[in-house]
Amino acid sequence: MAGEFADRAALDAVLDRALAASNADETEVLIAASDSSLTRFTHNFVHESVTERNAQMSVRAVIGKRTGVAGTNRLDESGIAEVVKRAYEMAKLSTEDPMFPGLPASQDGVSEVPGSFDPATATATPEMRAAAVADIAKVMRVNDLYAAGYVSTQSDAFVIGNSKGVRRFHQGTDSAINVKAIGSDSSGYAEGFSKRFSDLEPTALAERAAKKAVAGKNPRALEPGKYTVILEAPAFREFLGYLSWIGFGAQPFDEGSSFLSGHIGEKLVGENVTVRDDYAHPLGSGIPFDFEGVPRQQVTLVERGVARSVVYDSYYAAKLHHANTGHALPAPNSEGPLPLNVVVDPGSTPLEDMIKDVQHGVLISRTWYIRLVDQKQTMITGMTRDGLFLIERGRVSKGLKNMRFNESIVGALGRCDLASALVRSESHVLPAVRIEGFTFSSGTEF
């Protein structure tokens, strides 16, 4: 079913018709087709279960150095003709951007990431997702808890082409399980992501979340102050996600608002920190080309603590006289290019040993509502949730009520030690991390 919907020949035919219909100097067509399903649960029952099928086409028309973008999900003859015409009319009425370099020309082919598409995941049924929920609920009942979370499966296809010969196609699947185990005064969290639904283990994830909720009962309040903390991967991912947005793209770098602006080649964080963007990491979910059809490069952003590069699309590559790294977002976009597959190299210490080495500290399972306080200082604020624990003399000793933190991400990466195991969290691949002198500014009631 999903295979038919995302049929390459059918999408190519739509793309060909759109390119043929355009009178613009240059034309780019992007079609994103998706068949996605998500089953959501709370109190150990399914309260929402949805599936959505859609294919959205976007046409970028270029006249000289003027561009316009129009979109539609009507992929029939008239829908194609109208969207092409609207893009052209908008380009005519736009203003010239002297820096616009034209659409990217055809380049070498790309290599698909092995295992990107799993037919069984593409055809997963609501019964299979509900069965996973039932497995999770079973673990919860044994522990006198209830669970909230979701089980999702999806199949996506992208086709991108332009009038300068670029033509790309990618088909991929993805799946996830998210479990929050909830007790009377505590909660615990676990998550799993994979391109193959069969890789995910609902019972094991439920047991992990339940163990945290049980261990966190009767939480005590922690005094605000500076602590040694261990961020598990879901928490660390939110830090890296923010850093990517505010600092690793060419646009903030060019504007001077990135922490990397003017500092390429300088040591900014600890020597143990290497951050890359790697679409091909086997644990990840990357696509081998960007939304202009340019092959993605594997880019080292920070190498052994030293700032190395940001990521580029065709516009910023031309403007800043740098090679295009293949990190464009769909046009038009006001963010500039961004890394979407951030990988943090692991350290050498297993997480368990890392905890053993902490005399007095805090384990953070998950963070929530992180927001930027100061861009240049990379200072963020946010809350902990779903599993905050005191570490005493090398052991996780008791549950804590949740805390607010105010912390510089770059500052924290200068005082950190990275665990040895890599896991996927959303689109990131990264280890847990220990940070010294982490600032908690206040607490909450639970």
């Binding site: 029952f45 279960s49 959505e52 316009g68 539609t72």
Partner: protein
């Protein structure tokens, strides 16, 4: 009505499959966005999307399916799929979901407007934004100047198995300017109007009344001046918040806290739950006597205003907080019975393809009696803060920390020196109880929030929190930089 026969086909198929209740929505959206950045048009887009969705209730469990293809075979497939999903859900169904009864609605609604955006040429729109952006860039020290506008049209048809048939045409518009100044050690920015622009229901008149051009030079100058301004001190002091900042405070610490699905744990794994639990209804002191909050989906100009929500419930004002006491929640047909509260018509989906859920609608803080220019009068020492820069609150909506773009010292009732990086923090009930003065109706604005996120899969909703500048006593300020 367009889609009436298609809707009936879907409802018949769902009923034949075993649905005890079903509804269907056909939707068409068209979103125009125009943005200029440092002298060039950086984004010019015009997107449309159309499709339909089916929600089916079988044995106390929901199923939902949607598709962009509205040919007969797909209508049948999606209707049957929604029922099949509901049956799968029913295998793990708990106590079962039931709907509070609502009389069938047959009607239509269209957003009133003065100026049809289609009558304003793209060239005129581009010129307008470029002129405002040029004014910002004329200020020495501005690194990035931007101006943008949005025009959103939504046509939708709703029908359900109880006989409701509703046709709606909604029109929402908004615009803003933004100045970014980059210094040696910090980055400062200013936006106007408010935190992210003025977004309301209506036509192109909403964009014209924003007065972008008239305020562009000032906004640029403020962004640059902030680089050299004094740091907001860390202290416990009185504060006055601009109306747009109060709007966000309402959104985060009242709006989300009073969504009944959150209260019931339906968002527990993602958006979170709420401290405002059912046992508090009718007696809990949420704020001072000054604090009166109503959800009013009929409010003129407000961004979420419509005739009916996406489960066919007519827009109806409902009190949430009266004289400071918690008296209501935002509820849907599948949750209202639990709390025995009224329906306001606030259940909405981002677009045709997504499941409707309880969303902050127009959650308005009623105006007070103090002219805004007198809110400083009896403050000996305090801080005025304007327009949001960062916002964070815990997953039960208690512990919050907000940062603003612009601050001013208040001394002996007068506005003093400019302050950079103002932040304030607190716990929700204590904060609203410290409210002792709200600006009058003259200073009240239906501030729209076009980007509220909730749900899985994530949905973005457009909400409104009408507010006036408001005064709070003994608030912790400067805490973000206090560590």
């Amino acid at each position: 009505m367009q889609f009436e026969s298609e809707a009936q086909r879907v409802l018949d198929t769902a009923a034949q499959g075993g649905a005890q209740y079903a509804d269907v929505r056909f939707g068409q959206t068209r979103d125009e966005h125009l943005e200029v950045r440092n002298g060039v048009v950086s984004s010019l887009s015009d997107g449309e999307s159309a499709g339909f969705s089916v929600r089916a209730l079988v044995d106390g469990a929901w199923g939902f399916a949607s598709s962009a293809d509205i040919r007969d075979a797909e209508l049948d497939r999606v209707a049957a799929l929604a029922v099949a999903i509901a049956k799968a859900s029913a295998k793990v169904r708990g106590h079962g979901i039931s709907l509070v009864p609502v009389p069938p609605s047959v009607g239509s609604y269209a957003t009133p407007f003065e100026v049809d955006p289609a009558s304003v040429s793209l060239g005129e729109r581009v010129d307008y934004l470029l002129s405002a952006e040029k004014e910002i860039r004329a200020v020495k020290g501005v690194t990035v100047a931007r101006a943008w506008l949005d025009i959103w049209r939504t046509n939708k048809y709703f029908a359900n198995s109880e006989g409701s048939k509703i046709d709606q045409r909604l029109l929402q518009c908004g615009s803003a300017i933004h100045a970014l100044a980059v210094g040696e050690r910090d980055v400062q920015d200013r936006c106007f109007p408010g935190t992210g622009g003025l977004y309301q229901t209506g036509g192109y008149e909403i964009i014209r009344k924003a007065k972008l051009l008239e305020n562009a030079r000032r906004i640029g100058e403020e962004a640059v001046a902030l680089l050299d301004a004094d740091q907001c001190p860390s202290d416990t002091t009185d504060i006055v918040l601009s109306g747009d900042q109060v709007s966000l405070q309402i959104h985060e610490s009242i709006g989300h806290a009073l969504e009944l699905d959150r209260v019931m744990g339906w968002e527990a794994n993602f958006s979170g739950t709420s401290f405002a639990t059912l046992d508090k209804l009718g007696s809990f002191r949420y704020g001072s006597n000054q604090v009166n909050v109503v959800i009013d989906m009929t409010c003129p100009l407000a961004l979420a205003t419509h005739g009916y929500d996406d489960e066919g419930v007519a827009a109806t004002p409902v009190d949430l907080i009266r004289d400071g006491i918690l008296v209501g929640y935002m509820a849907g047909r599948d949750t209202a019975g639990t709390a025995k509260v009224g329906l306001s018509g606030c259940v909405r989906a981002e677009y045709w393809g997504r499941l409707p859920m309880i969303r902050i609608g127009n959650v308005n803080l009623e105006p007070g009696t103090v002219p805004a220019e007198h809110l400083f009068d009896d403050i000996k020492q305090g801080v005025y803060m304007e327009s949001n820069r960062s916002w964070s609150i815990d997953d039960k909506r208690l512990n919050f920390q907000f940062g603003c773009q612009l601050g001013y010292e208040i001394k002996d009732g007068k506005k003093g020196r400019m302050l950079k990086n103002p932040t304030y923090a607190g716990m929700t009930p204590a904060f609203w109880r410290s409210c002792d003065a709200i600006g009058d109706a003259q200073s009240w604005v239906a501030w729209g929030t076009p980007n509220c996120g909730k749900g899985e899969p994530l949905q973005t909703a457009r909400s409104c929190q009408g507010a006036a500048p408001t005064r709070f006593r003994n608030v912790s300020v400067g805490v973000a930089y206090g560590g």
